[in-house]
């Protein structure tokens, strides 16, 4: 599974900066790979994206995630960081 991560929004309107991040899950160690594959499963992300309406606050970042699964299918999601659980954000910081 390949995960392509980019961001937009934030206080500068420029996202978190930097180029898009690409994570090839096959290159991760087994325990982390399993956690990442579970957390970034397209069905899970779809549920997360669907719960993102009416969020509070300002200057929040939006994550743009593209997941290419084992069959080669692309799944694209735009998910506000405010809709993501803290442990998912911590995981994103380690990738």
């Amino acid at each position: 599974m390949l995960i392509i991560i980019s961001t937009s929004g934030g206080i500068g309107g420029t996202g978190l900066g930097g180029t898009e991040k690409r994570v090839e899950t096959d290159s991760l160690d087994t325990p982390l790979r399993e956690k990442v594959c579970d957390r970034f499963d397209p069905a899970t992300l779809k549920t997360l994206a669907g719960s993102a309406a009416g969020l509070r606050g300002a200057d929040r970042v939006v994550y743009h995630l593209t997941v290419i699964d084992g069959a080669g299918d692309r799944h694209r999601f735009d998910i506000p960081e405010a809709a993501m659980p803290a442990n998912m954000l911590d995981m994103l910081d380690t990738l």
Binding site: I11, G17, A49, G57, A58, V61, V62, I79, D93
Partner: protein
């Protein structure tokens, strides 16, 4: 057919409530009403599934009595007693909020620069609102100022989450810090907007929300340094960019579009005039982009008038926010409200009103 009702238990009330009204209820309703509105918005989204339209946030108003019974308590009740109460937490590089409490009200300096800047900065912002506008904290009712520093790892952002302020440390390359005074003032002012009736965080109302935060962030710095309009640089986020970034700040109210021009960060996209208004779906409809227009109008007005910008111009902007009562306001509606407030304060034939109208006209928003 109402999208919300499709496939769900029919409720005649929810059936006739269009999404834009739900957005307002999510801001202004009681906790229960707001939760219902958010739930219905979620359902609307699910019906419209596969559409990738997500927003970075929603300004929310805390309960103000019955549904639809919003009153700006901050305007109706002038604060006479200071209830400054700060709590600074250490996020310890993680995303969980608020993190470990490091410094509370009255504690001595912690020795951690970000903690102490957040503590001192919040004091400066509190005093601006309390001493200049008789407002007791973000909610006008002595709300505790909770801030978290060292949020996440190499995090290039600061934000208001609807309940507290949060600051990353930056990655040292694009950004080197976020606990700069105008940024602290900016984030806290998002809280003031939220508790003043709110401005939907999208399109022109979102850009007005952003502009209000920039204006009062800049005014916090000016007031702390005792600078008059002609003596200050009108920069927001001065000095927070990385050492090799070609730029001076996040935004310039004096010259929108000139704050930075860099290979990594790109070109500052802010317009200074409606002729250059940017139509985009990104950045919640360009909230951090088109805020350049009302930002520049405030700058022009303050320059024409001279003196301390947090006094007459700041009071007009602050009272406009309190009286607006329109969470989906356009730039033109905001401009008209500032003129109405200025007429009430200074008279229709006053120099203040003349200069204010001139400022709005110069950015392409004649009133």
């Amino acid at each position: 057919m109402c999208a919300i009702c499709d496939g769900h238990a029919r409720n005649p009330i929810t059936c006739i409530v269009p999404p834009h009204m739900l957005e307002v209820l999510a801001i202004r309703g009681s906790k229960k009403t707001a939760a219902m509105a958010r739930s219905l918005l979620d359902q609307t989204r699910k019906v419209r599934h596969e559409r990738a339209e997500f927003r970075t946030g929603r300004a929310m108003l805390e309960e103000a009595g019955a549904m639809g019974g919003f009153v700006s308590t901050a305007l109706s009740r002038a604060a006479t007693q200071s209830n400054l109460d700060r709590a600074i937490h250490d996020g310890e590089g993680k995303a969980g909020l608020p993190g470990k409490l490091l410094r509370k009200e009255g504690d001595p300096a912690s020795g951690d620069a970000a903690v102490d800047e957040a503590y001192d900065g919040a004091g400066n912002v509190y005093r601006l609102y309390f001493e200049a506008f008789s407002r007791d904290s973000l909610d006008g009712n002595g709300m505790k100022l909770v801030q978290t520093v060292h949020h996440r790892r190499n995090y290039n952002n600061a934000f208001w989450n609807g309940e507290q302020m949060v600051y990353g440390d930056g990655d040292g390359e694009i950004f080197q810090k976020f606990t700069e005074l105008s940024v602290i003032g900016h984030e806290m002012s998002h809280g003031v907007v939220q508790f003043s009736g709110g401005l939907l965080y999208e399109g022109q109302s979102g850009a007005l929300n952003e502009s209000f935060a920039d204006v009062f962030g800049a005014l916090t710095v000016q007031r702390k340094l005792g600078l008059e309009a002609h003596e200050t640089d009108w920069l927001v986020g001065k000095g927070i960019l990385g050492p090799d970034i070609r730029g001076v700040a996040l935004r310039s109210m004096k010259a929108p579009g000139t704050a930075y021009s860099d290979a990594l960060l790109g070109q500052d996209p802010q317009p200074y005039h409606m002729d250059f208004f940017v139509n985009t779906t990104g950045d919640s409809g360009g909230v951090h982009i088109n805020s350049g227009v009302p930002n520049h109008a405030f700058y022009l007005f303050a320059q024409y008038l001279g003196g301390k910008a947090w006094e007459k111009p700041g009071t007009i902007w602050y009272q406009t926010m309190q009286r607006l009562n329109n969470p989906v306001a356009t730039f033109a509606q905001w401009a008209a409200q500032t003129v109405e407030v200025a007429i009430g304060l200074h008279g229709a034939g006053s120099l203040e009103v003349l200069f204010l109208k001139r400022a709005w006209k110069l950015v392409g928003l004649p009133v």
